[in-house]
């Protein structure tokens, strides 16, 4: 679908202060799961929201934009599960506390949310790069304890009421809840593609299928990354999922 890959060459890191509620993720390289030849990809510095978007914030958005209210959203932009945990169009209700992350929001709605405020959804590369960080390391991808902790979260069922975004643990960059809270939309969610068949080894888009395991993956032991790619590739832009939220990113403007 839409692939927006903002490559911003920024020769003057730190020259621009991050907007309120965001932190700068210093650029670097990472090796995504799905590259067969294990070539690292470079990620430019970017701003990322410290916290996921909350029910309270999304309520403001739908107040201002009636076309994104539950009763009025176009079917093509959001499936019938859109904001299903809310009590009403403008009433999140008891099951959706104001400071909990908003979920059951489609990719189209998430995009629309940020459009007005000059932000966007992070790319897969940006999200995965920022998510390499544990609380103490910028890249903890080879830290078995860190991986196990993420896996443990993936193995748990979603609680009926999500906790506040403020309570989520901050990682090395100061970003809260990348792991352990909810899944998050990325702008190119259907780029790296698990064909739903975790063992496919045909020639179809070899670089982008994720499930071929040993053959097609740089690190077949990275079960946590496998799961994120599998999850993303199960989605369509109109899908609303009960544990899928989102947060904003912003390219660092050239000086």
């Amino acid at each position: 679908m839409v692939i927006l890959f903002n490559v911003v060459v920024c020769a003057c890191l730190g020259a621009t202060a991050p907007p309120a509620g965001m932190v700068m993720i210093p650029g670097g390289e990472y090796t995504p799961l799905f590259t067969k030849d294990a070539k690292p990809r470079s990620v430019s510095s970017f701003f990322l929201d410290v916290e996921a978007v909350t029910n309270a914030q999304f309520l403001q958005f739908v107040r201002a934009n009636p076309q994104w209210r539950r009763s009025q959203v176009a079917e093509v932009f959001a499936d019938s599960g859109y904001l299903r945990q809310w009590t009403g169009d403008l009433d999140p209700g008891v099951n959706a506390p104001p400071e909990a992350p908003v979920v059951n929001v489609s990719w189209f709605a998430a995009r629309a949310y940020f459009k007005a405020m000059g932000k966007r959804l992070p790319t897969t590369d940006e999200w995965e790069f920022a998510a390499l960080a544990s609380a103490t390391q910028a890249d903890a991808s080879r830290d078995a304890d860190f991986t196990q902790k993420i896996l443990a979260w993936y193995s748990q069922t979603t609680p009926s009421m999500l906790p506040s975004v403020h309570e989520a643990e901050a990682n090395f960059h100061g970003v809260r809840g990348l792991h352990g809270l909810v899944w998050e939309w990325v702008i190119d969610f259907n780029n790296a593609m698990s064909v739903g068949e975790g063992r496919d080894r045909n020639d179809f888009d070899r670089d982008f299928f994720c499930g071929a395991g040993a053959l097609g993956s740089a690190n077949p032991n990275s079960y946590a990354a496998f799961m994120r790619f599998a999850f993303r590739s199960s989605l369509q832009g109109s899908y609303c999922v009960a544990n899928l939220g989102f947060r904003g990113a912003k390219s660092i403007p050239a000086p």
Binding site: G81, R84, A144, T147, Q148, L151, A152, Y154, S155, Q156, T157, T158, S160, W183, S194, V195, G196, E197, G198, R199, D200, C210, G211, G213, N221, Y223, F226, M227, F229, A230, F231, S233, S234, L235, Q236, Y239, C240, V241, A242, N243, L244
Partner: protein
């Protein structure tokens, strides 16, 4: 496919252990063929299954001419082929009939089982919802005689449940428990499959049914995000017992978390009738904590990669089929087990302690092996076993890789009640002491006790007699006469009586060289005997007071005195001693 049912003389009623409300509202009644326990299974193949004219007409009607070519390819007269096979097995059949056991498969031996049949090219008649069952239960046998459209609805749920006492685990399930729901359909059925991923689930899931012919077994077609439902269809071309499982990346973790179950595709003619059917599926779990470590245990990826599970279980948890939850049967019942192995890694050596499988359809296929003790079930594979329970008791199912059974949980149980048949199995007839040496005194190992010391000359003579008879008699003979030219006499011995102290030294230390006794010279060896001072004293006292010798008493102290001082002199007269 499985059996003609010839020789089947079981009269007992089909007695499935149905406890699920869903099963009581079977939609099979759509066709007026509501399941009834007394409806006999159709077990003979139609004689005209490959009648060219009939098949051709049917094919024309559907415009599928190619099916004609397939259906009779290589077997112009199927029924006569079957007759021949039947004849070759007839003797055995009669034997088995007399033993009241099911006949072996004969159709399995025909050259082209599977798609070519009377209804492979026919449109399915009607529609029904599949009856699903949770382990250890199995949906009732299919009684209709034609393929139909079957709608299967399976919901994926991620649930926290008990893995062992005090140990919980977040299972990913097909239908809410591990193993997944048992699906039962008929060969050539057209299946419309709905996979629903519960909105509260965290993961996308899909399903690969080994009963599906087609890429991925339905995996790609059923890939479903949480809160969504996928629909695909397939035709059940091959009969057999098939595993299904999730195939979403990472596949190993989805299976390790419990995503497997079984689908039975009954052959057209059905399965031989039995009294009870159960669903048992083995699998292993890889937890962060060791076996029995309490709390909610997360999945341990490294243990899974190393293939070192902490739990190997039947039906999803330790003790899922034991105690109050054991499956039940009565003496005389013919029991069929649909056994699967979800893996993800281990192969099962499936065994029922105290039973011999009358039939094993190895790997869930169509050929029966018979009289099997232990059957190997591959990961992602199955086995159909049946046996008649002849004696009451608890029958334990194990993975006979036995440490899995006793240390990791791979134990299930069948409780069989009814009359004992002492001829088949006596039980314990007697409990008696085992006496390896034939002794009727020793019941426990006895600590060796040395004989008591002699307290006087008479006791010394008595004890000495025993030693003489045990040791000395071999050479010096029963009357102490010795053997001429070999061993000197002790009876009326001048050598002995002339010098008792010397004689003590000979016995205690041995003697080598010439010795003259009662006028005869002997050249031999008197070995140093391994006798205590007490024993030497007693033996000599016995000899001195018997055999016409001069009497007297030798004490242990005297023996001790000369021990270690070898006698070198020979001759009747004391020369060196004194």
């Amino acid at each position: 496919m499985w059996s003609t049912g010839q020789g089947e003389t079981i009269q007992s009623q089909y007695a499935l252990n149905m406890q699920h409300p869903a099963m009581l509202t079977s939609t099979r009644s759509i066709h007026g063929l509501a399941f009834h326990p007394l409806i006999p299974m159709i077990s003979t193949r139609p004689a005209n299954s490959c009648n060219p004219k009939r098949t051709f007409l049917a094919a024309l009607g559907l415009g599928i001419v190619i099916a004609v070519l397939n259906s009779c390819d290589g077997r112009p007269d199927l029924s006569s082929t079957e007759k021949k096979i039947q004849e070759s097995l007839s003797l055995e059949m009669r034997q088995r009939a007399s033993m009241n056991v099911a006949a072996p498969s004969i159709v399995a031996a025909s050259p082209a089982p599977g798609i070519a049949s009377e209804d492979a090219d026919a449109a399915p008649e009607g529609e029904e919802a599949a009856v699903l069952a949770d382990a250890p239960h199995v949906p009732p046998p299919i009684t209709r005689k034609h393929p139909t459209k079957v709608i299967v609805k399976l919901e994926v749920r991620e649930v926290e449940k008990r893995l062992a006492d005090g140990v919980n685990y977040t299972f990913w399930t097909f239908g809410g428990s591990v193993p997944g729901k048992f699906i039962r359909i008929r060969q050539n059925d057209y299946v419309e499959f709905h996979l629903m991923n519960h909105p509260g689930n965290k993961m996308p899931h899909n399903i690969d049914l080994h009963a599906v012919s087609g890429q991925g077994g339905g995996a790609a077609a059923s890939f479903t995000a949480p809160g969504h439902e996928s629909i695909f269809s397939f035709k059940a071309l091959n009969p057999g017992l098939f595993v299904y499982h999730c195939a979403t990346a990472p596949v190993g973790m989805h299976i390790a978390n419990g995503m497997y179950g079984m689908i039975l595709v009954e052959p057209r003619e059905g399965l031989p009738k039995v009294d009870r059917e159960f669903y048992v599926m083995q699998s292993e779990f890889y937890t962060k904590g060791k076996f029995g470590e309490a709390g909610l245990q997360p999945f341990d990826m490294q243990k899974a990669l190393d293939e070192k599970p902490d739990y190997v279980v039947f039906n999803g948890s330790v003790g899922a089929v034991t105690g109050d939850k054991a499956v039940q049967a009565n003496v005389g019942d013919r029991v069929r087990l649909f056994v699967g192995n979800g893996g993800p890694n281990l192969t099962s050596s499936f065994h029922v302690i105290g039973e011999i499988f009358d039939h094993v359809y190895s790997e869930g296929g169509s050929v029966a092996n018979r009289n099997v003790q232990t059957t190997l079930i591959p990961a992602g594979g199955s086995s159909i076993v049946d046996f008649k329970v002849e004696a009451p008791g608890n029958y334990i199912m194990v993975d006979h890789a036995i440490l899995r059974a006793f240390n990791k949980g791979a134990v299930a149980m069948m409780k069989v009640t009814g009359e004992e048949n002492k001829l088949v199995y006596s039980g314990k007839i007697d409990d008696r002491i085992y006496q390896p040496e034939g002794s009727d005194i020793q019941t426990i190992p006895v600590v060796y006790k040395p004989a008591p010391l002699a307290r006087n000359k008479n006791e010394r003579i008595d004890h000495g007699k025993l030693i003489y008879q045990r040791v000395c008699i071999a050479c010096h003979q029963a009357e102490a006469q010795g053997i001429p030219h070999a061993f000197p006499p002790l009876a009326k011995s001048d050598f002995l009586n002339a010098d008792v102290k010397r004689a003590i030294g000979v016995v205690a230390n041995g003697l080598t060289g010439k010795v003259t006794v009662n006028g005869e010279t002997f050249e031999s060896i008197m070995p140093q005997l391994m006798l205590s001072d007490e024993d030497v004293a007693n033996a000599l006292t016995f000899v001195l007071n018997n055999f016409g010798n001069s009497g007297g008493e030798v004490t242990p102290d005297q023996v001790a005195e000369v021990r270690g001082k070898p006698v070198t002199a020979v001759g009747a007269k004391p020369e060196l001693t004194n």
